[in-house]
Subunit: 239 residues, 2 copies
């Protein structure tokens, strides 16, 4: 009995780690930031880092870092800290960088072109297969090496190429139909830059909405609060 437990020790531990219930969404939203910082450290040639050092760098508590990483199992080593290369690799796996996802960008306006030109996708393991637009004038051309097709070919292209991610940079009015087409074609996730919240009946497809306007508004709020002329609107903050 005792020896069997011993033998299975490593495996049991691994399962126990990865099964630790659902990972809190707060933790997931912090993973990309860890990934970025660890990537920078790696590029600098650093080998190891402790949660205390990383916490200073990132302006969070060491406790939070250890707590967060432990949602996925023990990536560190007592008395040593974390091996940067190993930890970066593990977080890459968690975030799907190593999955080799494919994407198409629908809407070749200014934003679509901007997204076609960054190396943001490639650096995260995502391949952009094509751009789609309704403007016949640019159909058949290439933008930054990515071919532009007519939007009428979207459905077939997605099914034939098993596209994972659809990037929506179309006008608000067109967003729903394009989203539905892609969801029907088996696209797994939509990255939505249209200024509206997509509501699809397709339960399976994941939607990540970008609301740049909301971010601008938050900035305006903070500016207004921080640079308020004393004595105009509100009672002073200290009594």
């Amino acid at each position: 009995m005792e020896s069997i437990d011993k033998i299975n020790g490593t495996f049991d531990r691994r399962v126990a780690q990865e099964t630790k219930g659902e990972v809190p969404s707060a933790v997931i939203k912090r993973l990309p930031r860890y990934h970025r910082y660890l990537g920078d450290l790696l590029a600098e040639g650093q080998l190891r880092i402790s949660s205390a050092e990383l916490s200073k760098l990132m302006n969070v508590t060491a406790s939070q870092i250890r707590q967060d990483l432990n949602c996925f199992g023990g990536f560190g080593q007592q008395g040593y800290g974390y091996n940067i290369k190993y930890l970066h690799g593990k977080i890459s796996e968690l975030l799907g960088v190593t999955e080799g996802f494919s994407a198409v960008i629908v809407g070749a306006g200014n934003l679509g072109r901007a997204l076609a030109s960054t190396n943001m996708f490639r650096r995260r393991g995502v391949t952009r297969l094509a751009l789609f637009d309704s403007n016949e004038g640019i159909v058949g051309t290439e933008i930054h090496g990515i071919p532009v097709y007519h939007v009428s070919e979207l459905y077939n292209f997605c099914t034939e190429n098993s596209v994972d991610i659809g990037v929506l940079t179309v006008p608000k009015e067109a967003a729903y139909e394009v989203a539905k087409t892609m969801a029907d074609a088996g696209v797994k996730g939509l990255w939505n830059f249209a200024n509206m919240e997509l509501k699809l009946d397709n339960e399976k497809v994941i939607v990540e909405n970008i609301h740049l306007g909301d971010s601008l508004m938050t900035l305006c709020y903070e500016i207004k609060e921080n640079f308020r002329t004393p004595g105009t609107n509100e009672a002073p903050e200290n009594e």
Copy 2:
């Protein structure tokens, strides 16, 4: 004594409302979303809405809506609900839409051009005064009606025009210097699209970072989790 309290009742209440301590950051981050939905309802010609109706629309609890709005004072009326036009106006004020902020965009690459072309700023009461770039080839031209100046003129332009907001769409390497220039020139807030976190000693300037890459990563994580082939990595979710 009693009558004086009575007379000051209205005023006291107003002060009490607006002084209610610091507004939780979770609430502030939700304000733009309320603003968007109320704007849509207003455009549809709706006059009033209850927290229960709005909660269904927005997929949040009615309790949260009432709690959130009450951080800023009573915008509703018992037995009636909220007057959409009034509430939308109040949230506009809170978010600084009525402040008439001004902005400049630094970096006239694909993203800078895209931001110059949207009506996102105008719709939120922010005026774009100018674009700045180091490329002499486009200095002197206009993009979407916005003049392009050389980045060497940035400091003087910001001081002379009391620019409130600086939008950074420059490459990572240039971000810090451009940010420092604007902070020194009295710019109040920076909207940072460079893929790095700006750390400025200037305590006053507010920085809102946009990390599109982080959002893409979160989407990849969710896709990976949701479409996991059963039995590969993890133990089943239900025991």
